[in-house]
Symmetry: C2
Subunit: 176 residues, 2 copies
């Protein structure tokens, strides 16, 4: 499937409602379950998505548009949310994520990026040259990957509860 | 995490809205994308979930409650939906799934199953003896596993569009 900006935005704008539908008022056990030491719960993952809205996707797009390859992106702290959100409720995080996502997509839509701008390049601190198109595609994949992760984490909470069905349930079998 | 009927129902009753939030009016390319020959698109997966509501979960629970181990479950046809839904729209499938899920959960709630009933056993045609508790836990895991699958299938549609980020994006790397 080829990248199309409108199709990418269509996914990005749905994610807050998907997370709300899945997690709002769900019993706390589901919100805090993880896959063991140093793994993330649904709560942690929503915090991580917030941090991406604040520091990753649109700020990096801004750097590409303003500075091109001359200024490398700030490295993204994948663990920032773990300390930061300790006192927050999930409802607060879901609201915060939705609010930031709406703002970021408004900004993105106003930019009205044309194909030549999507081809503009920037410098990733580890990966080197990347395009604006690749950045936005990665934003979409990042959302969907973390949605898949939440499904997996919650599914695996019942690994021992399904009994013999474990053999028929691929999501329980791998770390993927 | 130990199985609790109310916590299981809390997930099961959210799934139709999660799928609607993710897929309603999303561009058709996302609805029909799959992972190659003999793999499922989000459209196919919603059809599979409908078939589970019609023929798998509650009918099997009914067999356990009525016949115990004496009557084995009907085998579940994992591919029935592929022919059956050829002329349907995704909106129709999402509505149908929601309607069946509501009915099935109403029936489940009315049964007001107590721990002793959750311990009742039935005969799976391939797996042998299973309990009602394991059946309902598997229903939950099945929902979450297919949600994770939809996230993965959609994410992988952009495998070639993320460029160098592919190395940092675990969802693109495995068969999940």
């Amino acid at each position: 499937m080829r990248f199309e900006l409108q199709e990418a935005i269509a996914v990005l704008e749905r994610t807050p409602d998907v997370l709300r539908a899945l997690l709002t008022d769900v019993p706390e056990a589901w919100v805090r379950v993880d896959e063991g030491a140093n793994t993330w719960s649904p709560f942690d993952i929503v915090g991580h998505l917030i941090h991406g809205e604040e520091t990753d996707w649109m700020p990096r797009l801004g750097i590409i548009l303003k500075h091109g390859e001359a200024r490398a992106f700030e490295p993204f702290d994948r663990f920032a949310q773990l300390e930061k959100n300790k006192g927050a409720t999930l409802a607060e995080l879901l609201d915060r994520f939705a609010e930031l996502r709406v703002q970021n997509l408004e900004t993105l839509k106003k930019l009205d990026l044309q194909p030549a701008q999507l081809d503009l390049t920037g410098t990733h601190p580890e990966l080197g040259r990347v395009t604006a198109r690749q950045l936005i595609a990665t934003w979409v994949v990042h959302d969907l990957g973390h949605l898949a992760q939440i499904g997996r984490v919650m599914a695996r909470a019942y690994s021992d509860e399904v009994g013999p069905w474990k053999a028929f349930t691929p999501i329980l079998g791998r770390r993927g």
